[in-house]
């Protein structure tokens, strides 16, 4: 150690000491960053592997998918994509349109109604609040399969079976408690003083919800939007029981029609369509995850 550290050097100036402290921190930081990247890259590979596998499978002929475990297809066969798009009695143009329509409406319904309900639970005082909150949590714990049949009969009596209504309307009535709970947790994080100050200024609870809570909750909204988009886009049990006409089917339902145990399956085309089916989700994620970050920066909170 020729150039002894300024720290141990009694003759070092204050500026030198400061500089060396900065150096140490810088070096430490760089090392930490390198480690962090290494960790992330290894993780990334594990995370990306399934997508690579899916892509590879979508380029293989059926005869090669199951007997050959190697990732690399012997020859790239894009035919699965064109074949898959029109392999079923209805083209995927229709399925993607159906899924988009249902998902967009349902996501809007989810985010609006859940934020409404969550605002009541997180920021307002009213009689019976704990009781309703407990009931709300209970709906989260019931296994869906068990209410499926009573719910089906209910919608049947209402004449809603074979329409999109059972898939959309409940979303506007905050029936998915997951999102309420998610937003309650976010809203409770916002400082109380905001409401109190606004209240003193004569703002109504609606004004507070609209002008204070919502703008500050962009990250929460974005998170809820991402989760509900993914959840609804992939949901298959409700569309399965409520939609009878193939022309009304959603993408996940259509993907389940490629394989068959008592005849010919089309796995390559199914994988090709699976790849295409995650593109909207990926796109939605990339756009909205930005809001999670930006939202906080914009709000200037903290």
């Amino acid at each position: 150690m020729a150039d002894a550290l300024p720290l141990q050097n009694p003759n070092a100036t204050t500026a030198e000491i400061a500089q060396s402290l900065r150096d140490i921190r810088e070096r430490k930081k760089r090392r930490a960053n390198l480690l962090r990247h290494l960790f992330l890259i290894i993780c990334s590979f594990v995370m990306v592997y399934p997508l690579l596998w899916l892509l590879a499978s979508s380029l293989k002929p059926d005869a090669e998918i199951f007997g050959n475990l190697s990732l690399w297809p012997t020859n790239f066969d894009w035919a699965n994509y064109s074949e898959g798009w029109n392999a079923l009695v209805v083209s995927f143009t229709q399925f993607f349109w159906n899924s988009t329509l249902i998902t967009v409406l349902a996501v809007i319904g989810n985010v609006i109604s859940a934020s409404f309900t969550a605002y009541a639970f997180a920021r307002l005082e009213f009689a019976g609040k704990n009781f309703w909150f407990a009931l709300m949590m209970m709906t989260l714990m019931i296994p869906y399969h068990i209410v499926l049949i009573p719910q089906y009969i209910l919608f049947l009596k209402m004449g809603w079976v074979d329409t999109y209504l059972p898939l959309i309307v409940p979303r506007f009535l905050a029936t998915d408690a997951f999102f309420i709970f998610l937003m309650v947790q976010f809203f409770r994080q916002l400082p109380r003083e905001l409401d109190e100050a606004a209240m003193i200024d004569g703002c109504s609870p609606f004004k507070i919800y609209w002008a204070i809570i919502l703008p500050l909750s962009v990250p929460a909204m974005a998170t809820a939007a991402i989760f509900s988009f993914i959840g609804i886009w992939q949901d298959f049990l409700p569309p399965l029981v409520y939609l009878n006409d193939v022309k009304d089917y959603t993408v996940p339902l259509a993907l389940r029609m490629f394989s068959s145990q008592d005849s010919v399956s089309l796995y390559g085309p199914m994988f090709a369509m699976s790849v295409l089916s995650i593109i909207p989700i990926f796109f939605f994620f990339v756009v909205f995850q930005r809001l999670i970050v930006q939202g906080i920066a914009m709000s200037g909170l903290k």
């Binding site: 007997g67 079923l88 159906n98 009969i153 329409t163 022309k247 008592d262 010919v264």
Partner: protein
């Protein structure tokens, strides 16, 4: 490409929503049409769906007073939705059913017998006796069939040839199987074995029971079995013999395949083995997943035993109790199995036509795997057992219990006696509870 008839809708919601298709689904179905609307539901695959919708179009073209609409889903999804629809009283008018579970649906009262419509909307004069008796449950005709199905052994021709051993695909026995399987394991690369292991395969046990003289496996009241644990142990010992000789993958490996109906995991498809046990209507599907060519054989026979394999209907078309108009529904069902234009389109997709003349008529248009299937089907005539009576309620659960409990043998976790007793105890409980 067939067109699906658009349902007509009227609703203000539809008009407001604008986009035509989306709106039709958001709105409410219109009533007051003159046509009777008949729903036909089936489990399918891309090819079957295409053909069936085409058939529906043909029918609708010939019957201006009836409008048939098709509803299709994958196999597992189909039964989930059917259960929901049973509860809601909203089953399609005509539904597809399999032979194995039909009795259960009949017993639960979800179907209407066709008796009242025979000679009126349904003609049975030209349906052969075997087809009629297969569709008869509790003494009444419940289902019409358009094709037959039977078990099969599917083998990888290349691997079998490489072993140097040969066998007769019709008359071969379990001893032949052992000889061939062991030879294949020896002649194949490491990790490739002769045959899949049927220790945990209820269907294979059923064949073995038939061969051993238990053609009927359930007592008449459907609450017990005609056989007892020794028969099961004998079956397991026979397979243990093949396994110990090296003819099958290690038991622990085979355990993962127990009860897996998915074709993609079968040994002949993954390349782990050269011989897999399946059904005749799966041969074409298996071939589609493989690069090597497959051949078809009967399930092996028991030396000195009786025929154990039988021919059964592949699928029925039946009348559900929720039908809105049984006359119209049965008119469609009748056309589905008789109308030459319609049956020509359906071809052998739903099973092999039972009349050999029809099989020969279809021959020129067949793929290699389809030809293998038909050839196989022709070859087994005279070597099959009569069709056993339909399974009682609870049969599906028993099958699943067997496939679960027998894994103990493959993993060597308990003795055969204990395992057989465990199975019989659970199975009898299921029959009592059903």
């Amino acid at each position: 490409m067939s067109k699906i008839k658009r349902r007509t809708f009227m609703s203000r919601a539809a008009a407001a929503a604008g986009a035509s298709v989306a709106a039709s689904s958001l709105g409410l179905p219109a009533f007051g049409q003159d046509k009777v609307r008949i729903r036909h539901g089936w489990w399918g695959n891309p090819e079957r769906d295409r053909r069936t919708f085409e058939v529906i179009d043909i029918f609708n073209g010939k019957h201006p007073d009836i409008e048939v609409v098709g509803e299709t889903l994958g196999f597992n999804d189909y039964f989930t939705r059917l259960a929901t629809q049973i509860a809601g009283g909203n089953m399609p008018d005509c539904i597809q059913q399999g032979y194995g579970v039909m009795q259960e649906y009949v017993d639960r009262g979800t179907m209407i017998p066709l008796t009242d419509y025979i000679g009126k909307t349904i003609q049975i004069d030209d349906i052969d006796e075997s087809g009629l008796s297969a569709g008869t449950f509790n003494g009444e005709l419940y289902g019409l069939t358009i094709g037959a199905n039977t078990m099969a052994t599917v083998f990888n021709k290349r691997l079998v040839e490489a072993s140097g051993e040969t066998f007769d695909t019709v008359t071969w026995t379990y001893d032949d199987l052992k000889r061939v399987a062991v030879a294949i394991t020896k002649s194949s690369p490491d990790g490739v074995y002769g045959t899949d292991d049927s220790t945990a395969d209820w269907g294979a046990f059923g064949v073995f029971a038939g061969q051993s003289g238990y053609a009927i496996q359930y007592t008449e009241d459907g609450k017990d079995f005609t056989f007892d644990t020794p028969l099961i142990i004998e079956f397991w010992n026979m397979w243990k013999d093949i396994r110990d000789a090296g003819g099958t993958p290690p038991g622990a490996d085979s355990a993962g395949l127990a009860g897996q109906a998915d074709l993609t995991v079968q040994g002949v498809v993954t390349g782990q083995t050269a011989i897999t046990y399946a059904w005749s209507n799966q041969i074409v599907g298996i071939q589609g997943l493989m690069q090597d060519t497959v051949g078809a054989a009967m399930r092996p026979h028991l030396a000195g035993g009786q025929p154990g394999q039988s021919v059964q209907p592949s699928q029925f078309i039946c009348l559900s109790r929720d039908t809105v108009d049984p006359e119209a529904a049965t008119t469609y069902m009748n056309a589905f199995v008789h109308d030459p234009d319609m049956t020509a389109v359906l071809g052998m997709e739903r099973g092999i036509p039972e009349v050999s003349a029809v099989r020969q008529m279809l021959a020129p248009t067949m793929s290699a795997a389809e030809a293998t299937t038909v050839e196989y089907f022709d070859s087994i005539q005279g070597h099959v057992a009569p069709l056993a009576p339909p399974n009682p309620a609870g049969a599906r659960e028993i099958e699943e219990a067997f496939e679960r409990i027998a894994v103990n043998i493959l993993l060597d976790r308990q003795s055969m006696e204990d395992t057989a007793n465990e199975f019989m105890r659970e199975a009898r409980g299921i029959l009592r509870r059903a």
